[in-house]
């Protein structure tokens, strides 16, 4: 028996088959990188306590949204475009004014020292009739304020923007500027 050469497999249709598979996966899958705003809900109040702890007036900035999607900042009519700057001024309190939040020196490991962490809390209250769109816009502006402050602090401390620092440095920044947004128990803020 002489050794015969095995004929080469015709693999030209292989490409077609894999193309078919490829198109199938392209069509059935979605590359939706979900974008959005992450938040943490507070744990439910313990049953024997019906009121949250009192916060001093200077430490709280109240943002109310009514059912017509209009805003009140600490009782004054405001616009969503001003909200970011108001929130930055409130949380940063750069001139240490008396009517803006107190600060508490907290030791932060990543900085190797203490940093004056603001005690300010932004209280967000909305009506049941508020549109979800407006609510997200307000959340977006507040996030923008916090992100900008974090970015500034990161440049100050580490010489790089918040997006470019490592996780430990990010933890330190997050500790220095926490997301201090509190959402009230839902109630009707007012129909008009």
């Amino acid at each position: 028996m002489g050794k015969r050469k095995t004929p080469g497999l015709n693999t030209s249709s292989m490409a077609d088959i894999s193309f078919l598979l490829l198109t199938f996966f392209l069509l059935t899958s979605s590359i939706n990188t979900d974008q959005g705003i992450a938040r943490r809900l507070p744990p439910p109040l313990p049953p024997n306590q019906d009121k949250p702890p009192e916060v001093r007036e200077r430490n709280i900035f109240i943002v109310k949204i009514n059912s017509k999607d209009r805003l009140l900042f600490n009782g004054e009519i405001g616009d969503v475009r001003d909200l970011k700057d108001r929130a930055k001024e409130f949380l940063g309190n750069p001139q240490d004014k008396d009517n803006l939040p107190e600060k508490e020196d907290v030791y932060i490991e990543g900085f190797g020292g203490t940093y004056p962490v603001s005690k300010g809390i932004i209280s967000l209250q909305n009506d049941r009739g508020t549109s979800y769109d407006m609510y997200i816009q307000v959340q977006n502006e507040l996030t923008a304020a916090i992100n900008e402050m974090r970015n500034d602090l990161s440049k100050d401390k580490f010489g790089k923007g918040y997006a470019d620092i490592n996780n430990q440095q990010r933890d330190a920044i997050d500790k220095a500027i926490p997301i201090a947004i509190s959402e009230a128990e839902p109630k009707n803020v007012g129909g008009n």
């Binding site: 693999t11 598979l21 899958s29 974008q35 959005g36 938040r39 009739g129 979800y132």
Partner: protein, 156 residues
């Protein structure tokens, strides 16, 4: 120059297609790895709001979705025209959420349970009353990590 002109024009050799399939397979695996299968079809119409400060949702396998919106036209006779909640592939009520959270939790390994995020995918026009009710239910059920889906957009 006779060296060049003396020869006959050669025929172009056929391209070797053998590695074509390898390249396509590589593409295929790339897409298989980076994409996720569409899990369930939507029964509600959703146009998420726009934001400038959005971030990416990490760890897709630890995310449960709550869709909120008006039922699509073909389902309106069945579910009405008011905004409804869709959990996985069924229309549900607010009171079903705590049970659903338990089920979602049971699906994941115990080590991962604390990292489960609930993504709220709600239509722009939905009123906050419904969303607040859902948030309260999630709070009671202990699902504290939430995520509001939004499109990334320019500042208006």
């Amino acid at each position: 120059m006779a060296r060049f002109t003396g020869k006959k024009a050669k025929e172009t050799p056929a391209l070797n297609m053998g590695s074509m399939s390898d390249i396509i397979f590589m593409l295929l695996f790339f897409f298989m790895v980076i994409t996720t299968m569409r899990e369930s079809s939507l029964y509600v119409k959703i146009q998420v709001p726009q934001g400038t400060e959005t971030s990416k949702l990490e760890k897709k396998s630890l995310v449960s979705y709550i869709n909120i919106g008006v039922p699509m036209d073909q389902y309106q006779s069945k579910y009405g025209k008011e905004p409804r909640i869709q959990l996985n592939d069924m229309i549900a009520d607010v009171s079903d959420i705590s049970q659903w959270v338990e089920l979602e939790r049971a699906d994941r390994s115990p080590a991962d349970r604390q990292y489960i995020t609930t993504a709220i995918k709600a239509d722009m026009a939905v009123k906050m009353g419904l969303v607040s009710d859902i948030k309260q239910e999630l709070r009671q059920a202990g699902a504290f990590r939430i995520f509001y889906n939004a499109r990334k957009g320019e500042r208006k």
